[in-house]
Symmetry: C2
Subunit: 266 residues, 2 copies
């Protein structure tokens, strides 16, 4: 399915009114079915539906072990993704009915609660990043986001190891882009506990919950975190960097994973 | 409750590392209880919880008539908003269990389906706006968004009549800002069918569903619409303007509500 569509629009430019073909981001609903039971209908950019489904299940704590994933079948025409799991979490039926509408950037839904997650050991420093490396990543991250440049309003997420960006995902939904990235990493057998996640969007408590649950030690955003995400990051050992730009960045929590060789004022 | 909190952070500026107090957007979960039944937990900026609750119920088609609202009680400490309605929509129990996770900018939830909504009559032109007026509104909209300037990453929405901006709402959630605005208009007895809605954020199918359901004839966004929102707008008689800037704007659908006095190329 195509991530962008052409549409005939009118553009007013100064006092000049023109008709032109513009590119618009697609958005489709698909049903996520787990062991023959409808879990939710997700709406996303119609790419990487397998990664989207798996990432969502990982972020929600419904898929917890690699061995549990028996099958995944994407039916684009029927707009369904069917996942077969060997093991459902305790109380799956209740999980499927519980829902919290988060701030998302819209009103995200989550079945889970960030407060009860396992923490990353604070002294687990499997990856360390220098400010210069983070700056280089950000530069690459921006240039790679090519769908964004075509339609506007697309969010992107990227995964980097100690050397470079290794995965990239885009979606009209900020949370979806992160889920697609997490799902792709799982499907490609890429561990997350020594990686850096880059996000184009604001960091809410819900995004931070995904990061904690998937044990990604460093999260870098181009924009702002909320109080809830900051508290979750502090409590769960995640290094959170926001407003990351070429010249400056804010380090909100756990700076032990940033290798400073800079002069401080303190 | 406070919409922003102070936090001690580290800022790297070039090679200079400083500690400073920064302002972070708050985000709280609250339980929305309808006739003693938990409908959902919403997460939002902790302001205007009454408007947020009512706007959500209006946007979801759960509150449909003014006379149905018997009582609304906000308990900030208990983090609940309890709404008493005289009349619940048919199949309310099913509504409360059905859920679609939309792209939001995160993964928004909605209980409703945009495709089945009543349309605005295409020839209903209770308000007409000139490009110059829209430009003036946009300028005002930006200057009014003061919370945004403090913390970054806050979305805003405004409601304008033929003369000026009459309501303004802010939230960390793009959809929440729109719901707060719609709820406030309802609580203040302001009709929506002759107004212009301004939104700082991307227009997804879910936002458009709120606009259609509340019969707001003109929607102006500073950024991009998705295909789904464009289709909904076209089908339901909504005038949709995107990428609205001081110099240019895209008119996607139903230009009959825009009063052009400009030269075209066609």
């Amino acid at each position: 399915m195509k991530a962008i569509h052409d549409a005939l629009i009118m553009r007013l430019n100064g006092e000049q009114l023109d008709e032109l073909i513009d590119q618009i981001a697609a958005e489709i609903p698909f049903a996520l079915i787990v062991n023959d039971q409808l879990l939710v209908t997700l709406v996303c950019t119609p790419t990487e539906l397998d990664a989207m489904a798996i990432g969502f299940l990982l972020s929600e704590g419904i898929l917890t072990e690699r061995e549990s994933l028996l099958d995944i079948a994407v039916d684009e025409k029927g707009a369904t993704v069917s996942v077969t799991l060997k093991k459902l979490p305790n109380g799956f039926d209740q999980i499927a009915q519980r829902k919290t509408i988060t701030s998302g950037c819209g009103q995200g839904v989550t079945f889970s609660d960030g407060a009860n997650l396992e923490s990353l050991p604070v002294n687990q420093v499997q990856i360390k990043a220098s400010p210069d490396y983070i700056r280089a990543l950000l530069k690459k991250f921006r240039s790679v986001s090519d769908l964004f440049q075509k339609t506007g309003g697309i969010h992107s997420a990227a995964l980097a190891d100690g050397n470079e960006i290794i995965l990239f995902a885009e979606d009209i939904g900020r949370h979806n882009a992160v889920d697609k990235l997490i799902g792709r990493a799982f499907l490609d057998n890429i561990p997350l506990d020594d990686k850096i996640l880059l996000s184009s969007g604001r960091i809410s408590g819900e995004i931070m919950t995904k990061v904690i649950r998937n044990k990604i030690p460093i999260l870098v955003s181009r924009t702002a975190p909320t109080c809830m995400s900051l508290t979750y990051a502090e409590d769960h050992g995640i290094t959170l960097i926001g407003f990351a730009r070429v010249n400056r960045m804010n380090i909100y929590t756990h700076p032990q994973r940033i290798s400073f060789e800079v002069k401080g004022t303190g």
